[in-house]
Symmetry: C2
Subunit: 208 residues, 2 copies
Amino acid sequence: MTRNPDVPEAAVTRLAAYLEALERLETQEVATTSSAEIARHAGVNAAQVRKDLSYFGEFGRPGLGYDVANLRRSLARILHLDREHLVILLGSGRLGTALLGYPGLAQRAFRVAGVFDSSPRVIGQELCGHRVLDVRNLQEFNREHEVKIGIICVPTAQAQAACDQLVAAGIRAILNFAPVSLRAPPHVLVRHVDVTRELQALAYYLAD
Amino acid sequence: MTRNPDVPEAAVTRLAAYLEALERLETQEVATTSSAEIARHAGVNAAQVRKDLSYFGEFGRPGLGYDVANLRRSLARILHLDREHLVILLGSGRLGTALLGYPGLAQRAFRVAGVFDSSPRVIGQELCGHRVLDVRNLQEFNREHEVKIGIICVPTAQAQAACDQLVAAGIRAILNFAPVSLRAPPHVLVRHVDVTRELQALAYYLAD
Protein backbone atom coordinates (compact mmCIF):
# COMPACT_ATOMS: atom_id res chain seq x y z
CA MET A 1 0.00 0.00 0.00
CA THR A 2 2.80 2.41 0.86
CA ARG A 3 4.01 4.15 -2.28
CA ASN A 4 7.52 5.05 -1.23
CA PRO A 5 8.69 3.63 2.08
CA ASP A 6 11.40 6.32 2.36
CA VAL A 7 8.87 9.13 2.60
CA PRO A 8 8.14 9.99 6.25
CA GLU A 9 4.47 10.16 7.16
CA ALA A 10 5.04 13.66 8.51
CA ALA A 11 6.25 14.76 5.06
CA VAL A 12 3.01 13.51 3.51
CA THR A 13 1.02 15.50 6.05
CA ARG A 14 3.10 18.60 5.30
CA LEU A 15 2.51 18.06 1.57
CA ALA A 16 -1.19 18.56 2.29
CA ALA A 17 -0.32 21.84 4.02
CA TYR A 18 1.74 22.96 0.99
CA LEU A 19 -1.19 22.13 -1.25
CA GLU A 20 -3.40 24.40 0.85
CA ALA A 21 -0.80 27.16 0.61
CA LEU A 22 -0.68 26.82 -3.19
CA GLU A 23 -4.45 26.92 -3.45
CA ARG A 24 -4.47 30.12 -1.44
CA LEU A 25 -1.77 31.63 -3.68
CA GLU A 26 -3.74 30.61 -6.77
CA THR A 27 -6.83 32.34 -5.37
CA GLN A 28 -4.67 35.44 -4.97
CA GLU A 29 -3.65 35.04 -8.65
CA VAL A 30 0.00 34.51 -7.78
CA ALA A 31 1.64 32.73 -10.75
CA THR A 32 5.06 31.75 -9.36
CA THR A 33 6.23 31.21 -5.84
CA SER A 34 9.24 30.18 -3.74
CA SER A 35 9.89 27.56 -1.09
CA ALA A 36 10.15 30.47 1.39
CA GLU A 37 6.65 31.68 0.52
CA ILE A 38 5.13 28.20 0.68
CA ALA A 39 6.94 27.67 3.97
CA ARG A 40 5.56 30.88 5.43
CA HIS A 41 1.99 29.85 4.55
CA ALA A 42 2.49 26.34 5.93
CA GLY A 43 4.27 27.33 9.12
CA VAL A 44 7.55 25.46 8.46
CA ASN A 45 10.94 26.57 7.12
CA ALA A 46 11.97 26.78 3.47
CA ALA A 47 14.55 23.98 3.71
CA GLN A 48 11.82 21.66 4.98
CA VAL A 49 9.64 22.50 1.98
CA ARG A 50 12.48 21.76 -0.46
CA LYS A 51 13.36 18.52 1.30
CA ASP A 52 9.76 17.32 1.39
CA LEU A 53 9.16 18.14 -2.27
CA SER A 54 12.39 16.37 -3.24
CA TYR A 55 10.86 13.05 -2.12
CA PHE A 56 8.35 13.32 -4.92
CA GLY A 57 10.28 14.79 -7.85
CA GLU A 58 11.79 17.94 -9.30
CA PHE A 59 9.26 20.72 -9.30
CA GLY A 60 10.89 24.14 -9.28
CA ARG A 61 13.41 25.70 -11.60
CA PRO A 62 16.58 27.07 -9.96
CA GLY A 63 16.32 30.85 -9.68
CA LEU A 64 12.77 30.87 -11.04
CA GLY A 65 10.85 29.18 -8.25
CA TYR A 66 7.69 27.16 -8.63
CA ASP A 67 4.79 27.53 -11.04
CA VAL A 68 1.86 27.75 -8.62
CA ALA A 69 -0.77 26.02 -10.79
CA ASN A 70 1.57 23.23 -11.89
CA LEU A 71 2.83 22.48 -8.41
CA ARG A 72 -0.71 22.60 -7.04
CA ARG A 73 -1.84 20.02 -9.64
CA SER A 74 1.20 17.82 -9.00
CA LEU A 75 0.69 17.76 -5.24
CA ALA A 76 -3.03 17.02 -5.62
CA ARG A 77 -2.16 14.10 -7.91
CA ILE A 78 0.53 12.78 -5.55
CA LEU A 79 -1.92 12.90 -2.64
CA HIS A 80 -4.64 11.26 -4.78
CA LEU A 81 -6.80 14.31 -4.30
CA ASP A 82 -7.61 14.57 -8.00
CA ARG A 83 -10.51 12.18 -7.37
CA GLU A 84 -13.37 11.74 -4.92
CA HIS A 85 -12.83 9.56 -1.85
CA LEU A 86 -15.65 7.85 0.00
CA VAL A 87 -15.40 7.58 3.78
CA ILE A 88 -17.30 5.62 6.39
CA LEU A 89 -17.94 7.24 9.75
CA LEU A 90 -18.14 4.91 12.74
CA GLY A 91 -19.75 6.63 15.72
CA SER A 92 -22.57 9.17 15.58
CA GLY A 93 -21.98 11.01 18.84
CA ARG A 94 -20.99 14.67 19.22
CA LEU A 95 -17.66 14.26 17.43
CA GLY A 96 -19.18 12.25 14.58
CA THR A 97 -21.87 14.91 14.21
CA ALA A 98 -19.24 17.65 14.19
CA LEU A 99 -17.35 15.83 11.43
CA LEU A 100 -20.51 15.29 9.37
CA GLY A 101 -21.16 19.01 9.48
CA TYR A 102 -17.54 19.92 8.71
CA PRO A 103 -17.51 21.70 5.32
CA GLY A 104 -13.83 20.83 4.78
CA LEU A 105 -14.70 17.24 3.98
CA ALA A 106 -16.79 17.91 0.89
CA GLN A 107 -14.51 20.78 -0.19
CA ARG A 108 -11.70 18.23 -0.25
CA ALA A 109 -13.71 15.65 -2.20
CA PHE A 110 -14.21 13.40 0.80
CA ARG A 111 -17.78 12.14 0.69
CA VAL A 112 -19.37 10.33 3.63
CA ALA A 113 -20.83 7.13 2.17
CA GLY A 114 -22.30 5.86 5.43
CA VAL A 115 -22.60 6.61 9.14
CA PHE A 116 -22.63 3.62 11.48
CA ASP A 117 -23.32 3.16 15.16
CA SER A 118 -23.95 0.27 17.53
CA SER A 119 -26.50 1.96 19.78
CA PRO A 120 -30.16 1.08 19.15
CA ARG A 121 -30.99 4.60 20.40
CA VAL A 122 -29.46 6.22 17.33
CA ILE A 123 -29.63 3.57 14.59
CA GLY A 124 -32.24 4.70 12.10
CA GLN A 125 -32.09 8.35 13.22
CA GLU A 126 -31.25 11.01 10.66
CA LEU A 127 -28.04 13.00 11.16
CA CYS A 128 -27.05 15.84 8.79
CA GLY A 129 -28.81 14.09 5.92
CA HIS A 130 -27.52 10.62 6.73
CA ARG A 131 -29.55 7.79 8.22
CA VAL A 132 -27.44 6.16 10.95
CA LEU A 133 -26.87 2.50 10.02
CA ASP A 134 -26.35 -0.54 12.23
CA VAL A 135 -22.66 -1.40 12.49
CA ARG A 136 -23.62 -5.07 12.17
CA ASN A 137 -24.43 -4.32 8.53
CA LEU A 138 -21.07 -2.66 7.85
CA GLN A 139 -19.45 -5.58 6.00
CA GLU A 140 -22.48 -6.10 3.81
CA PHE A 141 -22.67 -2.36 3.08
CA ASN A 142 -19.04 -2.22 2.07
CA ARG A 143 -19.18 -5.25 -0.20
CA GLU A 144 -21.35 -3.01 -2.35
CA HIS A 145 -19.72 0.39 -1.78
CA GLU A 146 -16.04 -0.61 -1.47
CA VAL A 147 -15.13 2.36 0.72
CA LYS A 148 -11.42 2.43 1.59
CA ILE A 149 -11.29 5.07 4.34
CA GLY A 150 -12.87 4.80 7.77
CA ILE A 151 -13.14 7.39 10.54
CA ILE A 152 -13.44 6.18 14.13
CA CYS A 153 -15.23 8.54 16.50
CA VAL A 154 -16.63 6.09 19.03
CA PRO A 155 -15.87 6.11 22.78
CA THR A 156 -12.40 4.83 23.74
CA ALA A 157 -13.63 1.50 25.09
CA GLN A 158 -15.24 0.68 21.72
CA ALA A 159 -12.43 1.93 19.49
CA GLN A 160 -10.57 -1.37 18.99
CA ALA A 161 -13.82 -3.18 18.15
CA ALA A 162 -14.65 -0.39 15.69
CA CYS A 163 -11.20 -0.77 14.13
CA ASP A 164 -11.66 -4.55 13.81
CA GLN A 165 -15.05 -4.03 12.18
CA LEU A 166 -13.62 -1.55 9.67
CA VAL A 167 -10.74 -3.92 8.85
CA ALA A 168 -13.17 -6.83 8.40
CA ALA A 169 -15.21 -4.65 6.03
CA GLY A 170 -12.16 -4.08 3.80
CA ILE A 171 -11.17 -0.57 4.95
CA ARG A 172 -7.53 0.22 4.09
CA ALA A 173 -6.93 3.52 5.91
CA ILE A 174 -8.32 4.61 9.27
CA LEU A 175 -8.42 7.99 10.95
CA ASN A 176 -8.82 7.37 14.67
CA PHE A 177 -10.14 10.06 17.00
CA ALA A 178 -10.31 7.86 20.09
CA PRO A 179 -7.45 8.52 22.54
CA VAL A 180 -6.02 4.98 22.29
CA SER A 181 -3.52 3.16 20.07
CA LEU A 182 -5.24 0.62 17.82
CA ARG A 183 -3.95 -2.72 16.55
CA ALA A 184 -4.52 -3.29 12.85
CA PRO A 185 -2.93 -5.60 10.27
CA PRO A 186 0.08 -4.19 8.36
CA HIS A 187 -1.92 -3.58 5.16
CA VAL A 188 -4.16 -1.12 7.01
CA LEU A 189 -2.82 2.35 7.82
CA VAL A 190 -4.04 3.89 11.05
CA ARG A 191 -3.53 7.56 11.84
CA HIS A 192 -4.41 9.09 15.16
CA VAL A 193 -5.94 12.47 15.72
CA ASP A 194 -5.55 12.67 19.44
CA VAL A 195 -6.77 15.94 20.84
CA THR A 196 -5.36 15.24 24.27
CA ARG A 197 -1.97 14.32 22.85
CA GLU A 198 -1.88 17.61 20.95
CA LEU A 199 -2.77 19.47 24.14
CA GLN A 200 -0.10 17.57 26.05
CA ALA A 201 2.45 18.56 23.44
CA LEU A 202 1.30 22.20 23.79
CA ALA A 203 1.77 22.05 27.55
CA TYR A 204 5.43 21.15 27.02
CA TYR A 205 6.03 24.58 25.51
CA LEU A 206 4.54 26.50 28.40
CA ALA A 207 7.18 28.12 30.55
CA ASP A 208 7.82 26.65 33.98
CA MET B 1 9.15 29.71 25.85
CA THR B 2 10.68 26.77 23.99
CA ARG B 3 12.59 24.58 26.42
CA ASN B 4 15.10 23.02 24.05
CA PRO B 5 15.11 24.32 20.50
CA ASP B 6 16.79 21.12 19.25
CA VAL B 7 13.80 18.98 20.15
CA PRO B 8 11.51 18.50 17.14
CA GLU B 9 7.84 19.21 17.78
CA ALA B 10 7.01 15.74 16.49
CA ALA B 11 9.22 14.23 19.22
CA VAL B 12 7.24 16.11 21.86
CA THR B 13 3.99 14.74 20.43
CA ARG B 14 5.44 11.22 20.42
CA LEU B 15 6.52 11.70 24.05
CA ALA B 16 2.84 12.08 24.90
CA ALA B 17 2.18 8.78 23.13
CA TYR B 18 4.96 7.07 25.11
CA LEU B 19 3.43 8.42 28.30
CA GLU B 20 0.11 6.83 27.36
CA ALA B 21 1.90 3.54 26.66
CA LEU B 22 3.59 3.64 30.07
CA GLU B 23 0.31 4.39 31.82
CA ARG B 24 -1.22 1.38 30.12
CA LEU B 25 1.72 -0.81 31.17
CA GLU B 26 1.44 0.46 34.74
CA THR B 27 -2.26 -0.44 34.79
CA GLN B 28 -1.22 -3.92 33.69
CA GLU B 29 1.24 -3.97 36.61
CA VAL B 30 4.27 -4.24 34.33
CA ALA B 31 7.32 -3.03 36.31
CA THR B 32 10.01 -2.77 33.63
CA THR B 33 9.76 -2.33 29.90
CA SER B 34 11.85 -1.91 26.74
CA SER B 35 11.97 0.63 23.95
CA ALA B 36 10.55 -2.12 21.71
CA GLU B 37 7.52 -2.56 23.95
CA ILE B 38 6.90 1.18 24.27
CA ALA B 39 7.31 1.47 20.50
CA ARG B 40 4.77 -1.27 19.86
CA HIS B 41 2.19 0.49 22.06
CA ALA B 42 2.88 3.87 20.45
CA GLY B 43 2.97 2.65 16.84
CA VAL B 44 6.56 3.71 16.05
CA ASN B 45 9.86 1.79 15.97
CA ALA B 46 12.18 1.16 18.91
CA ALA B 47 15.02 3.31 17.53
CA GLN B 48 12.60 6.26 17.36
CA VAL B 49 11.68 5.78 21.02
CA ARG B 50 15.35 5.71 22.09
CA LYS B 51 16.17 8.76 19.94
CA ASP B 52 13.19 10.75 21.27
CA LEU B 53 13.95 9.90 24.90
CA SER B 54 17.61 10.84 24.42
CA TYR B 55 16.56 14.48 23.85
CA PHE B 56 15.40 14.65 27.44
CA GLY B 57 17.94 12.64 29.41
CA GLU B 58 19.13 9.14 30.27
CA PHE B 59 16.24 7.02 31.43
CA GLY B 60 16.91 3.32 30.87
CA ARG B 61 19.72 1.10 32.05
CA PRO B 62 21.54 -0.87 29.33
CA GLY B 63 20.35 -4.47 29.32
CA LEU B 64 17.75 -3.76 32.02
CA GLY B 65 15.32 -1.53 30.17
CA TYR B 66 13.12 1.13 31.72
CA ASP B 67 11.42 1.29 35.09
CA VAL B 68 7.80 1.88 34.07
CA ALA B 69 6.73 4.04 37.03
CA ASN B 70 9.89 6.17 36.99
CA LEU B 71 9.80 6.80 33.26
CA ARG B 72 6.08 7.57 33.44
CA ARG B 73 6.70 10.18 36.15
CA SER B 74 9.65 11.67 34.25
CA LEU B 75 7.70 12.05 31.02
CA ALA B 76 4.72 13.59 32.80
CA ARG B 77 7.06 16.11 34.42
CA ILE B 78 8.83 16.91 31.12
CA LEU B 79 5.46 17.50 29.44
CA HIS B 80 4.27 19.61 32.42
CA LEU B 81 1.45 17.15 32.97
CA ASP B 82 2.14 16.88 36.70
CA ARG B 83 -0.11 19.91 37.18
CA GLU B 84 -3.53 21.14 36.06
CA HIS B 85 -3.77 23.31 32.93
CA LEU B 86 -6.61 25.70 32.29
CA VAL B 87 -7.84 26.10 28.72
CA ILE B 88 -10.11 28.57 26.99
CA LEU B 89 -12.41 27.31 24.27
CA LEU B 90 -13.24 29.77 21.52
CA GLY B 91 -16.27 28.62 19.49
CA SER B 92 -19.28 26.79 20.87
CA GLY B 93 -20.51 25.03 17.73
CA ARG B 94 -20.63 21.28 17.18
CA LEU B 95 -16.87 20.82 17.46
CA GLY B 96 -16.62 22.97 20.57
CA THR B 97 -19.44 21.01 22.12
CA ALA B 98 -17.74 17.73 21.21
CA LEU B 99 -14.54 18.93 22.89
CA LEU B 100 -16.39 20.08 26.01
CA GLY B 101 -17.87 16.60 26.33
CA TYR B 102 -14.55 14.86 25.64
CA PRO B 103 -13.58 12.93 28.79
CA GLY B 104 -9.91 12.90 27.77
CA LEU B 105 -9.52 16.56 28.70
CA ALA B 106 -10.32 16.20 32.38
CA GLN B 107 -8.50 12.84 32.58
CA ARG B 108 -5.41 14.69 31.40
CA ALA B 109 -5.82 17.55 33.86
CA PHE B 110 -6.94 20.03 31.23
CA ARG B 111 -9.78 22.05 32.69
CA VAL B 112 -11.94 24.33 30.58
CA ALA B 113 -11.92 27.70 32.36
CA GLY B 114 -14.21 29.45 29.91
CA VAL B 115 -16.16 28.96 26.66
CA PHE B 116 -16.42 32.01 24.40
CA ASP B 117 -18.41 32.79 21.28
CA SER B 118 -19.24 35.87 19.23
CA SER B 119 -22.80 34.91 18.28
CA PRO B 120 -25.59 36.59 20.28
CA ARG B 121 -27.64 33.43 19.62
CA VAL B 122 -25.41 31.32 21.89
CA ILE B 123 -23.88 33.81 24.34
CA GLY B 124 -25.45 33.18 27.74
CA GLN B 125 -26.60 29.67 26.83
CA GLU B 126 -25.44 26.76 28.95
CA LEU B 127 -23.26 24.12 27.30
CA CYS B 128 -22.09 21.02 29.21
CA GLY B 129 -22.08 22.96 32.46
CA HIS B 130 -20.45 26.10 31.02
CA ARG B 131 -22.21 29.38 30.34
CA VAL B 132 -21.07 30.62 26.93
CA LEU B 133 -19.34 33.99 27.39
CA ASP B 134 -19.06 36.95 25.02
CA VAL B 135 -15.69 36.94 23.26
CA ARG B 136 -15.57 40.72 23.77
CA ASN B 137 -15.01 39.97 27.46
CA LEU B 138 -12.13 37.55 26.80
CA GLN B 139 -9.28 39.94 27.71
CA GLU B 140 -10.97 41.02 30.91
CA PHE B 141 -11.72 37.39 31.81
CA ASN B 142 -8.13 36.37 31.30
CA ARG B 143 -6.64 39.22 33.29
CA GLU B 144 -8.22 37.43 36.23
CA HIS B 145 -7.79 33.77 35.20
CA GLU B 146 -4.42 33.93 33.40
CA VAL B 147 -5.17 30.96 31.17
CA LYS B 148 -2.25 30.06 28.89
CA ILE B 149 -3.84 27.61 26.43
CA GLY B 150 -6.57 28.42 23.91
CA ILE B 151 -8.50 26.10 21.62
CA ILE B 152 -9.94 27.53 18.40
CA CYS B 153 -13.00 25.77 17.06
CA VAL B 154 -14.70 28.60 15.18
CA PRO B 155 -15.52 28.60 11.44
CA THR B 156 -12.53 29.07 9.11
CA ALA B 157 -13.39 32.66 8.23
CA GLN B 158 -13.28 33.65 11.91
CA ALA B 159 -10.17 31.70 12.88
CA GLN B 160 -7.58 34.46 12.44
CA ALA B 161 -9.72 36.92 14.43
CA ALA B 162 -10.10 34.27 17.14
CA CYS B 163 -6.34 33.78 17.18
CA ASP B 164 -5.76 37.55 17.47
CA GLN B 165 -8.23 37.73 20.35
CA LEU B 166 -6.52 34.87 22.19
CA VAL B 167 -3.09 36.47 21.67
CA ALA B 168 -4.40 39.82 22.93
CA ALA B 169 -5.74 38.04 26.01
CA GLY B 170 -2.29 36.68 26.85
CA ILE B 171 -2.68 33.10 25.58
CA ARG B 172 0.71 31.44 24.94
CA ALA B 173 -0.24 28.21 23.18
CA ILE B 174 -3.07 27.64 20.72
CA LEU B 175 -4.61 24.47 19.38
CA ASN B 176 -6.32 25.34 16.10
CA PHE B 177 -9.05 23.14 14.63
CA ALA B 178 -9.93 25.49 11.76
CA PRO B 179 -8.50 24.31 8.41
CA VAL B 180 -6.34 27.39 7.91
CA SER B 181 -2.82 28.50 8.86
CA LEU B 182 -2.85 31.24 11.47
CA ARG B 183 -0.44 34.12 11.97
CA ALA B 184 0.69 34.62 15.54
CA PRO B 185 3.66 36.37 17.16
CA PRO B 186 6.76 34.21 17.77
CA HIS B 187 6.14 33.91 21.51
CA VAL B 188 2.84 32.13 20.85
CA LEU B 189 2.92 28.50 19.73
CA VAL B 190 0.16 27.44 17.35
CA ARG B 191 -0.53 23.80 16.59
CA HIS B 192 -3.01 22.69 13.97
CA VAL B 193 -5.35 19.76 14.22
CA ASP B 194 -6.57 19.68 10.66
CA VAL B 195 -8.95 16.83 10.04
CA THR B 196 -8.93 17.34 6.30
CA ARG B 197 -5.16 17.39 6.19
CA GLU B 198 -5.05 14.09 8.05
CA LEU B 199 -7.55 12.63 5.60
CA GLN B 200 -5.51 13.95 2.69
CA ALA B 201 -2.44 12.29 4.09
CA LEU B 202 -4.41 9.05 4.42
CA ALA B 203 -5.47 9.24 0.79
CA TYR B 204 -1.80 9.25 -0.23
CA TYR B 205 -1.44 5.72 1.10
CA LEU B 206 -4.38 4.32 -0.86
CA ALA B 207 -3.24 2.24 -3.81
CA ASP B 208 -3.77 3.64 -7.29
